[in-house]
């Protein structure tokens, strides 16, 4: 009997969907994304008649699809799902049962990472598309909505879709390193949401580090007006690179530490 990798994928799939917390976290992601987008769009829809001409001219409808404050929940929940997926196994001792069945630990981690990334990508696609569609439908009533063909619109939707697997894999890497559920979630949250605040975007090197963090990269890719006026704004290709490097580094870190450390 050959050892098939797809059996490991199926096993991780069963494990993920046999926990209630998975459903709660994914529902929180989808619902909070759409609700906060609708809220932002409704606010602009309501205030639109009072906006002066120059404000209307510089209005960025895509920002209403992906408002930072609402998508904080998305990042937090996505990071937590990733962190819990591995740290929860260590904390409960389940990891030893897993390794008795599959001594090839690198294969176990690779399967986990694959399932996590695929599920989060699917949820991200639903959340980002729904947020874009709902917010732009609301704004269209004021002739202020964007269509997916507008400059930056598709990029914003794709970046917001990918934000979920990016945050989840970073959470996974932290979870593999910390191996306790609550600390892993706290460290992930700190890394994703608080670390960007520690850097002064008006200073060159400080801004460079800021721009190399995953959440500022997302902000750049969705073209939030909050980040655009600063002097050291990141490039779009640079931000895509940040998007690629973080999750890949986190996944590799997880493979290495899980393989090397004794459970």
């Amino acid at each position: 009997m050959r050892a098939r990798f797809r059996d490991l994928l199926a096993a991780e799939w069963i494990k993920l969907w046999s926990l209630r917390s998975t459903y709660g976290a994914l529902a929180l992601i989808a619902v909070s994304a759409v609700l906060f987008s609708a809220r932002a769009a409704l606010g602009d829809h309501h205030n639109w008649p009072d906006y002066p001409a120059e404000r209307r001219a510089s209005f960025d409808p895509i920002h209403d699809a992906f408002p930072e404050e609402g998508w904080l929940f998305v990042m937090l929940a996505a990071g937590a799902v990733g962190a819990v997926m591995i740290a929860g196994e260590y904390a409960s001792g389940q990891i030893r049962s897993t390794f008795l069945a599959v001594p090839d630990r690198r294969a176990v981690v690779t399967a986990k990472v694959t399932v996590l990334a695929a599920v989060m990508l699917a949820v991200g696609a639903v959340a980002a598309s729904a947020s874009f569609w709902v917010s732009q439908t609301i704004l269209a009533d004021r002739d202020a909505g964007a269509s997916i063909g507008d400059p930056g619109a598709l990029r914003a939707v794709v970046a917001s879709t990918l934000l979920l697997p990016v945050c989840a894999l970073i959470g996974f890497g932290v979870g593999a390193l910390v191996r306790h559920t609550a600390p892993a979630v706290v460290v992930t949250t700190t890394l994703l949401l608080l670390a960007p605040l520690a850097f002064d975007i008006d200073r060159r090197w400080s801004a460079a580090i800021h721009n190399a963090l995953p959440v500022p990269a997302w902000e750049r890719l969705v073209g939030n007006p909050y980040v655009l006026p600063n002097l050291h704004v990141a490039t779009v290709p640079g931000s895509w690179a940040v998007y690629a490097v973080w999750p890949v580094a986190a996944a590799l870190l997880a493979v290495v530490v899980v393989h090397r450390r004794e459970p």
């Binding site: 009997m1 046999s18 926990l19 001792g93 030893r96 008795l100 069945a101 599959v102 001594p103």
Partner: protein, 301 residues
């Protein structure tokens, strides 16, 4: 078959397992004994590849277990009944394990039946008692129908019926030609379960022999007699060469077989209420053997 050769594990300055060389053979239930902290659990984890040895080798059916891509068909183990995620149902837990090894889904139902958990299979493991978790751990060990099975303290938390069932299961598994290694820190449990004994203390091998051989080399045939006239009987037994000590309701005699004691009592015309050879000496032998190798002795030496 499990083969250990010079197996050694050090954590920092402490040696948990010290050059252990040992072969655990198929067809037997091998009791793996030692006081708390002797290195039993560490040894099992080394054999199963969860921990890496500092030195030496551990082979399961000729190969290091850690080198197997999938493990359930080669060895099954219950290390700690708590090694499960409490949020899952018993069925989902086993289904994921079975699937990871490409085992048919039907095996889950079979092992659940075998351990008697079919009726609670859909309930979350978090609500299980320790005894139920032990059964679930045994079910997981049996999933791949492996030739080698290891159980770490499997009797913990089991009710008397459960203990009897587990003993029967271990004997059946051994009779089928499997290698069955069962660890415990209580000799009494092993006496009725194992037919071969391995005893370690502070990580070193102390005993590796059959239960019968272990019993033979340590038993100093003791006979307990209950009598209303211990003085007369004691004198008669002492005259015949027995060493006699008095206790609450009779005498304890060493140096004379039970039959000879009864004969002497009859000749001396002493009434005897009860007479039996004392079989509780295995526990004492184990205690004597490991007394100087206790990590945590009561009474502060």
């Amino acid at each position: 078959m499990i083969e250990l050769r010079d197996l050694t594990k050090r954590y920092g300055g402490t040696t948990a397992v010290d050059r252990l060389t040992l072969t655990v053979r198929p067809g037997h239930v091998t009791g793996f004994l030692g006081p708390n902290g002797a290195g039993k659990s560490t040894t099992l984890r080394l054999v199963l590849g969860l921990h890496r040895p500092t030195g030496g080798t551990a082979l399961v059916d000729g190969q290091p277990f850690a080198g197997r891509p999938r493990g359930l068909r080669y060895a099954g183990a219950l290390l700690d009944a708590g090694d499960v995620h409490g949020g899952r149902s018993a069925r989902a837990h086993l289904a994921a394990l079975a699937r990871s090894n490409g085992l048919p889904r039907a095996r889950v139902g079979e092992v659940l039946d075998q351990v008697g958990l079919s009726e609670v299979a859909g309930r979350r493991i978090g609500g299980f008692s320790l005894g139920m978790r032990q059964r679930l751990g045994i079910a997981a060990a049996l999933l791949g129908d492996p030739p080698v099975l290891m159980f770490d303290e499997p009797f913990n938390g089991l009710d008397p019926e459960g203990v009897r069932w587990v003993r029967g299961l271990f004997r059946r598994l051994a009779a089928e030609g499997r290698t069955v290694l069962v660890s415990s820190h209580l000799m009494g449990e092993m006496e009725q379960t194992a037919d071969h004994l391995v005893v370690i203390g502070r990580g070193e091998l102390l005993v590796d022999e059959s239960l019968a051989a272990f019993a033979a080399r340590t038993a100093h045939d003791r006979v307990v007699v209950r009598t209303p006239d211990p003085a007369a009987l004691g004198a008669a037994l002492a005259a015949a060469g027995g060493v006699v000590t008095r206790n609450d309701d009779g005498l304890t005699v060493t140096g004379l077989p039970a039959g000879r004691v009864g004969e002497l009592a009859f000749r001396a015309g002493v009434v005897v209420y009860g007479l039996h050879a004392d079989a509780a000496s295995l526990e004492e032998a184990f205690m004597a053997l490991t007394a100087d190798r206790l990590d945590y002795a009561a009474g502060g030496r």
